[in-house]
């Protein structure tokens, strides 16, 4: 029996944090650029530099060593959001340089997604989704050179038949990432390549057990497998069947979700090292798709994602305030497109999915993952909603002011007609 290869994929993203925006505080009105009026650049900078130090730089260093020591046999794929790259350029350009170096080795592949890590795939009109995907692949080729990405991952692995068709219709993608849950696969294993019933794009399913062993459980002392050693984990991989083991997780797993003292960095190094020693082969996402024939076909009726216990879209669009905010958001689409520039940027940045995650009330009072990620620890999802809506209504006000202005000073004089004599 041939051993399955390993497809290691990391997601790289940071949200743009909102300003605290009161109806009464008019000081933001003096900021002409809506990007400055609505977003807290200082907070972004604080988090970005902190995470760069704890996660991105040390983890990149390990990956670069692994590639070098294995003569390029160690391979890994990343998806990097557009908003992350924007922040990186401003707050820690050395991190972007180190990613560029990794890509240059040829062992690192970039996966496409929406530039804004948005929920645009869930809106009925797909024009914006496609624009954001295009904007992302343009940014990736511009930043890293080479060809446009061949595989696609949607925001938080949000996938359904509709989204698959829309991604497939772009025509460039050979593979797409999805959550490997029973609701989709039934009794079938995630360790195989699948085709989709009416599309040509192939599906890569996340092995959530083995992925979450690292992503969630690694530092959990209540877990009966704790501590997770590289030997033990490689043993599990070695005993797995199938074509590929898809290990998909947030890149912040290393040093941020699990603090460096948990030994997570050493684990990354040694698990990769020992996998190679045990004859396990690493492949990037597109190589994995290319290497194997699909074993069978799937369809995905309801939306699935890798989030929460529910593994659906309910973390972002699961309650009334989320739905309300979402539909209000899209009311501004036409105006944003008409004005373009900073207005379009601000509108799109307000569509970053994290803003909707902060409105999630699921087990919020128990203090769970949503609370952990929200930048304003003392704010409830209701408070976050009020802030988000205040910003949307201010953006709407600004856009209306701009749209009401005559756009072009015309030099053509309207012909004057002779007055029509009044008829008595």
């Amino acid at each position: 029996m041939t051993k399955p290869s390993i497809c290691l994929y990391f997601h790289v993203h940071q949200p743009t944090r909102l300003n605290r925006h009161s109806v009464f505080d008019k000081s933001h009105r003096s900021k002409n650029n809506p990007m400055d009026a609505y977003f807290d650049h200082n907070l972004d900078k604080f988090y970005f530099q902190k995470i760069a130090k704890q996660c991105y730089l040390p983890a990149n260093k390990i990956i670069s060593e692994l590639i070098e020591e294995s003569d390029g046999k160690f391979k890994v794929s990343f998806s990097i959001t557009g908003v992350w790259i924007e922040q990186c350029k401003k707050y820690a350009p050395e991190v972007l340089e180190s990613f560029k170096k990794l890509v240059k080795t040829g062992s690192v592949e970039i996966v496409d997604e929406t530039y804004y890590h948005s929920l645009s795939s869930l809106w009925w009109d797909q024009a914006e989704f496609k624009n954001q995907v295009k904007k992302h692949s343009d940014l990736i080729t511009e930043t890293f050179g080479g060809q446009a990405p061949k595989t696609f991952r949607n925001t938080e692995l949000l996938v359904n038949d509709n989204i698959i068709s829309n991604v497939d219709s772009i025509g460039r993608y050979t593979g797409m990432l999805a959550e490997g849950i029973e609701r989709v696969l039934g009794w079938r294993s995630p360790n195989y390549i699948y085709s989709h019933k009416n599309n040509s794009v192939k599906m890569l399913f996340r092995n959530y057990r083995l992925s979450d062993d690292i992503g969630f459980r690694f530092s959990d002392r209540g877990w009966k497998q704790w501590p997770l050693t590289a030997d033990k984990y490689v043993d599990w991989l070695n005993n797995s069947e199938g074509q590929t083991i898809n290990l998909f997780m947030d890149y912040e797993t290393f040093g941020e979700h699990h603090w460096p003292g948990s030994g997570i960095m050493e684990f990354l190094y040694w698990f990769a090292k020992k996998s190679t020693e045990n004859g396990l082969e690493f492949k990037t996402t597109s190589q994995t798709v290319q290497s194997y024939k699909p074993i069978s076909s799937v369809e995905i009726n309801g939306t699935v994602s890798w989030a929460d216990m529910e593994r659906d879209a309910s973390a972002w669009l699961g309650n009334k305030i989320q739905d309300y905010a979402f539909s209000t958001y899209w009311e501004l689409e036409n105006g944003a497109n008409e004005l373009g520039g900073n207005y379009l940027d601000a509108w799109r940045t307000l569509g970053v999915s994290d803003h909707y995650m902060y409105l999630c009330l699921k087990s919020w009072s128990d203090g769970d993952v949503h609370k952990h990620f929200s930048p304003y620890k003392d704010w409830t999802p209701y408070d976050n909603f009020i802030n988000y809506m205040n910003i949307l209504s201010d953006l709407s006000r600004r856009m209306n002011e701009q749209l009401d202005k005559p756009k072009i000073e015309t030099t053509i004089k309207m012909p004057t007609f002779p007055a029509i004599p009044e008829i008595n």
């Binding site: 009161s22 109806v23 305030i321 919020w364 409830t380 209701y382 909603f385 809506m389």
Partner: protein, 405 residues
């Protein structure tokens, strides 16, 4: 268990949380098999309830021959002010002598009954019953559980508290076998301000009976069309009605179609009316005065927002009442009820901009109102008087057990 409970107010003669608490607590305790004699001041109205024995303590006469009428005890401030300003009314010393007379008669009457009935425990509420309860404890050797619903420092918002009352409160928490408070916040204050030992305090939260707040009348029936923002409570510094009016002013700058309703009475009424005039919002503010229960339930139901800006609140039962009425709540962080509810908007009472900003959001976004109302309603399923009684009974049983050792 045979329980002698010393109270002060009882429906329909109530003004605050104490009366509501005693009514529901005794009803549920009786359901749990506790036999209760409830002692209260003479009202002349012969109050009766099916679940326990109400014992009215002898009437007492004032120097002018009139029978002393018990008003809500929380109005001690009013009485003193009236005395100081030379206006008519029952003098402060009359209230105090009335309290002392009540407590004296209480202890004597209790002892007489105890010889026949053989009680297991004495339970009493607030400073106003402390003297009698402490005396009864001493005479009978029974353990005493004192429930502190509020303290003098709460009621006066720390402005000119009565040393005399503070003294009784200190004596009460020192002499009681165990002390119940209505929130962790209140327990902390008892420790810090009344030197109550932490080990003898149990926290038992209040609750609400949602059946009493079933009114679903529409605001059109009241002739209102604007968004209605409600304040309900005693009009005193403690409850923060001034912050409510300051926030109202700010809201009206952004939302013209809002109406602010202030329900309740109290010594601050004239000051609030003047403030509304000074702020130039008098036409947008309605003072309802005191409202009977059913009308209050209607008012809760028609309100779009309930604001509770209390400066210092041991609990805050009206917050649960508004939640039970399906009305979204903006709540001061300095309140005990904030410890047990999540589906409300919490603010600092002094931050009127924040308060106004949240009122505006609730007036504007129906989705926010609906979600808060629905989630608040399900949050209340665990906040029942039954649970209050069960936790209280645990304290009672523990007290009796420990006293036997």
């Amino acid at each position: 268990m045979k329980l002698a409970m010393f109270g002060w107010e009882f429906p329909p003669f109530i003004s605050g949380g104490l009366g509501v608490h005693c009514f529901h607590l005794t009803k549920e305790l009786a359901g749990l098999g506790v036999e209760i004699d409830f002692y209260m001041p003479y009202t002349g109205k012969n109050p009766k309830v099916p679940w326990m024995n109400i014992i009215e303590v002898d009437p007492f006469q004032l120097p002018d021959g009139k029978i002393f009428q018990f008003g809500p005890y929380s109005s001690t401030k009013t009485i003193i002010k009236e005395k100081q300003s030379g206006r008519k009314g029952i003098s402060g010393m009359d209230l105090f002598s009335a309290v002392m007379t009540y407590n004296n008669s209480l202890a004597k009457l209790f002892l007489r009954n105890h010889q026949k009935k053989n009680y297991d425990l004495i339970a009493c509420h607030d400073w106003i019953t402390v003297e009698g309860a402490v005396e009864a404890k001493k005479l009978s050797g029974l353990p005493l559980v004192l429930t502190m619903h509020s303290t003098e420092l709460d009621r006066t918002a720390n402005l000119n508290p009565f040393d005399w009352i503070l003294g009784i409160e200190k004596k009460g928490v020192a002499s009681a076998t165990r002390v119940i408070t209505v929130s962790r916040r209140s327990a902390k204050r008892l420790e810090d301000e009344l030197s109550c030992s932490n080990e003898k305090i149990d926290v038992v939260y209040n609750a609400v009976d949602p059946l009493l707040f079933k009114s679903r009348v529409k605001k059109e029936e009241f002739g209102f069309t604007d968004g209605i923002v409600l304040f309900h409570g005693r009009l005193s510094v403690q409850k923060g009605p001034e912050f409510f009016l300051q926030a109202a002013k700010l809201v009206l700058e952004e939302e013209k179609d809002a109406r602010f309703v202030i329900s309740g009475k109290g010594d601050m009424m004239p000051r609030l009316v003047n403030l509304a005039i000074d702020l130039n919002i008098a036409d947008k503010v309605t003072f309802t005065g005191y409202l009977p229960e059913e009308q209050l339930a209607d008012l809760y139901a028609v309100a779009d927002v309930y604001v509770f800006p209390s400066v210092s609140e041991p609990f805050g039962i009206t917050v649960l009442e508004a939640m039970a009425s399906g009305t979204p709540v903006i709540l001061s962080k300095t309140s005990g009820v904030a410890e047990i509810v999540d589906h409300v908007l919490k603010v600092d009472f002094w931050d009127t901009h924040q308060m106004a900003s949240k009122i505006i959001a609730l007036l504007r976004y129906s989705a926010l109102r609906q979600l808060l109302a629905t989630n608040a309603m399900s949050e209340l399923t665990d906040i029942t008087w039954r649970n209050t009684a069960i936790t209280t009974l645990q304290t009672y049983e523990k007290t009796i057990r420990e006293n036997k050792k």
